[in-house]
Structure formats: structure tokens, C-alpha cells
Amino acid sequence: MKTRIIAKLDVKPPYVVKPVHFEGLRKIGKPAELAKKYYEQGADEIMYIDIVASLYQREILFDEIEKTANELFIPFGVGGGVKTIEDCSKLFHKGADKVAMNTYAVQENPDIINQAAEIFGNQAVVVNIEAKKWDNWYECYTDCGRIQSQKDVVSWAQEVEQRGAGEILLQCVDSDGRQRGFDLELAKEVVQSVRIPVVVSSGAGKLEDIKELIEYARPSGVAIASLLHYDKVTIKEVKEYLRANGIEVSK
């Protein structure tokens, strides 16, 4: 099975930004331009997360999303501030292939996952989990790593699978943006606890980190942000490196 290599854009419209620990934003560029750049480098997917929509409780900015989708002939996932079936529908019409949900599903209405899966199909529903490590458990955070939920990450992962989610995007509040490697135990635990694909994010600082994650936790995909944004490597280089190390990736 080929591990998917996904470019993740954390967007604070109109810019892609890169927070460290989900804070301290730095502007990187325009989403449409970066998405196109990563597409041309050979990304398997682009994941676009509006990181402030839930936090500021504002509407999803659809124009920016449509502009980004226009540049792509690969799957395009979109998340951030999704609250209704109508939001999902509008996102699909603007060019999204998957919709990622977190805050609203965790804090207010997990049934949105069931409803979305029934209408749009499981494969189109991604649940974004922001995990925070405590002594002997991981807690789901929301609103871009700001708000606690008391929900255990592994039980929530299993619950969203039951509810019909087709994929989990696993982010880690502690390691996001630090480029010091992934939380391997977290990744392995979540991958093994569900049958649906898990895409792991937060932590890639060098090529070895990605290889180590894939070999240890066997995620379906790896989402990379900082490493690409700062031009430390290209997607093409990531794939060549993984292939040379015996890990299957797409062309």
C-alpha cells in the first residue's frame, strides 16, 4: 500500500501561515499559489485548514477555497469552521473532495458526522483531531489547539469511525510546527485503534522523521507543512527518499 504524501496548508485568510504549537503565526504565501506549487511537486493531496474560522466564529471564506481548488487536479480536502450540511455541500461545489471537521463535532454536535457521511459518503468526511498529551492519555483539543474537550483521543477516534467518518487527520498540539519529529506513540495508537485511514501530521522536521513515522506507525498518509513551506525539501525529494528506503509511494 502506497503511503500518501499530503501538503497541509494552515490558512488564516488570505494567507497560508505556519503556527508553532498552533500559535505565533507566520505568513508563508497565498493558498492558491502554494497549492499549485505542491501539486506540481507531486503531492498526492492538498489539505486546506482555515485555522481561525472556528476560533473567531466567522463564516467559511469560500472564495479563497475555490481559487485554490482551481489550480488542482488532485484531491483537495478542506476544513475549518464547518458546522452544517449546507457548509459541506457548498465546499464540495467549490471544489473540495473531502471536508474535515473538528470543533463543532467535538464540542456541540457529533451527529453532523453521521449526517455528512450519509449524504456525501464516508470517504468524503474527515475528522480532524488535535491531540494534546497528558501524563497517560491524549485529550482532543478544538479551536486550533485552544480549547479542551475532556474527550479521549482514542475513544473519540473510534467513535467517529462508528459515526461514519472515512478518515482521520491526526494533529498534535505539542509537536505541531516544531519540526522535531512526530509523536510516534500517539500515531501508532490511533492508527491501530481504527479501521479507517489515518493521516498523521505535526512534526516533520527532516526526511528521517517521515520515514520513522511510516515504519513505526504505518499511517495511510503523512501531512507535511513547515518542511515544505520553508523550502527545506520538495515533495519530489520526500518521495524519492522514501522510495530509496523501501517505502512505497505514488509516482
Partner: protein
């Protein structure tokens, strides 16, 4: 004569935007089909697919497209994509048992495989019957994103291997084609497939 490809827009669940863009990139003209009268102008039909089998059939019915679509696909070259391929079948089993368009003698069932489901990502196709749609694409990878598969034994044109499980990745019966993958999400290989479809 320039031909127009009709992309069926049913209800809230289609990803018509991506498909329209990819067909245009391949050099085709697109008309979005919102109403049964829109079929008159088009020479070929694309049925997109994001959604569930049950919902798709319900939406086609609600939008009063179902009967016309059934007739149109008998005579015009048609390409079903992902769920659009699945609903060409006789029966679907996603969220209960639902009747499909019945253009293919096939049923749509959950993938039973010892690996993660949905099957998501780029994968190869193994062309088992030469055909115009997949011409020149034998060595390419395409993007898959599905939990259900079409079960058919007579009209297969390509198979795909997922964790040791072989399933139908493309199908053809006369003028009707279906692909389980998403050509509109499969880089240049997908654009080439649309070119082949336009040139049929």
C-alpha cells in the same frame, strides 16, 4: 461539429466543479445538466460521484432527472465516475438496498479487505480488456477514494489490487463506461482519460 459533454448535477452531493475543470483542460466543452431538457444539447454524458448510493438515486429522482437519464445513457456515450459508476449497477447496498440505473448487471457492495477502508490514494490499474477509454494509460496510477466496489463478472476492462484484493476499477458495456477512480483527481493521466472519452 464541436461536441458538448453533459455533466449531470444532482442535488447537493456532486463534485461537478472538479470534473468540469478537468474536461475543459482535456479540450472538451461542458454543459452542466440541471434539468431534464438540458440533455438535448449534449452528445456525451458524465455522471460524477461524491455521496452515497441511496442519496444519489434519491436526488436524481427529486430533481426529475432519473427517467431521462435512464433513456439517454442507452444511446449516448456515458462515463460514470466513482459513485457515478456504481449507480449504473442494478442494486446498491449503501445505507440499505437501493435500485440503481440498471445499465450494468452488477451490484455494489462494501469492500471486504484486510486493510484500511475506505481505499484512498493513488493505485495502478491492470487493463484486462483493451478499450479506447484506457488506451495509453496502462502504466498509469489513478486516485481512488471509496468504501464500496462494483461486483460484476462480464464487463470488466480493468482490475485493481488493494492489499491483495482484486476489484473492478473500470467497466464497459457498449457505449457505457465506468471508472471507480477519479480521473479528475489523477493528474495528467486523468486528463488523458477525459481526452480519450472526448475522442470516442
Amino acid at each position: 461539429m464541436s461536441q458538448i459533454i453533459g455533466v449531470v448535477n444532482y442535488g447537493i452531493a456532486g463534485n461537478i466543479h472538479s470534473i468540469k475543470k478537468a474536461i475543459e483542460k482535456a479540450g472538451g466543452n461542458v454543459q452542466i445538466i440541471n434539468h431534464k431538457d438540458d440533455f438535448t444539447n449534449v452528445s456525451k454524458i458524465v455522471i460524477p460521484g461524491v455521496g452515497s448510493f441511496k442519496d444519489a438515486m434519491q436526488e436524481l429522482h427529486n430533481d426529475d432527472l432519473l427517467n431521462t437519464l435512464r433513456k439517454e445513457i442507452q444511446v449516448k456515450p456515458t462515463l460514470g465516475i466513482c459513485l457515478g459508476m456504481q449507480i449504473l449497477s442494478t442494486l446498491g447496498f449503501e445505507y440499505g438496498k437501493t435500485e440503481g440505473l440498471d445499465a450494468l448487471k452488477a451490484e455494489v457492495k462494501p469492500m471486504i479487505v484486510d486493510a484500511k477502508v475506505p481505499h484512498v490514494g493513488f493505485n495502478k490499474i491492470d487493463v484486462v480488456n483493451n478499450n479506447k477509454l484506457l488506451k495509453g494509460l496502462e502504466a498509469e496510477e489513478f486516485y481512488f477514494m471509496h468504501s464500496y466496489e462494483v461486483v460484476n463478472y462480464t464487463d470488466i476492462i480493468s482490475l485493481t489490487d488493494y492489499a491483495g484484493h482484486k476489484f473492478v476499477s473500470s467497466i464497459q458495456k457498449e457505449n457505457i463506461y465506468g471508472v471507480q477512480f477519479h480521473p479528475e483527481k489523477s493528474r495528467e493521466a486523468g486528463i488523458k482519460l477525459f481526452k480519450n472519452f472526448i475522442e470516442l
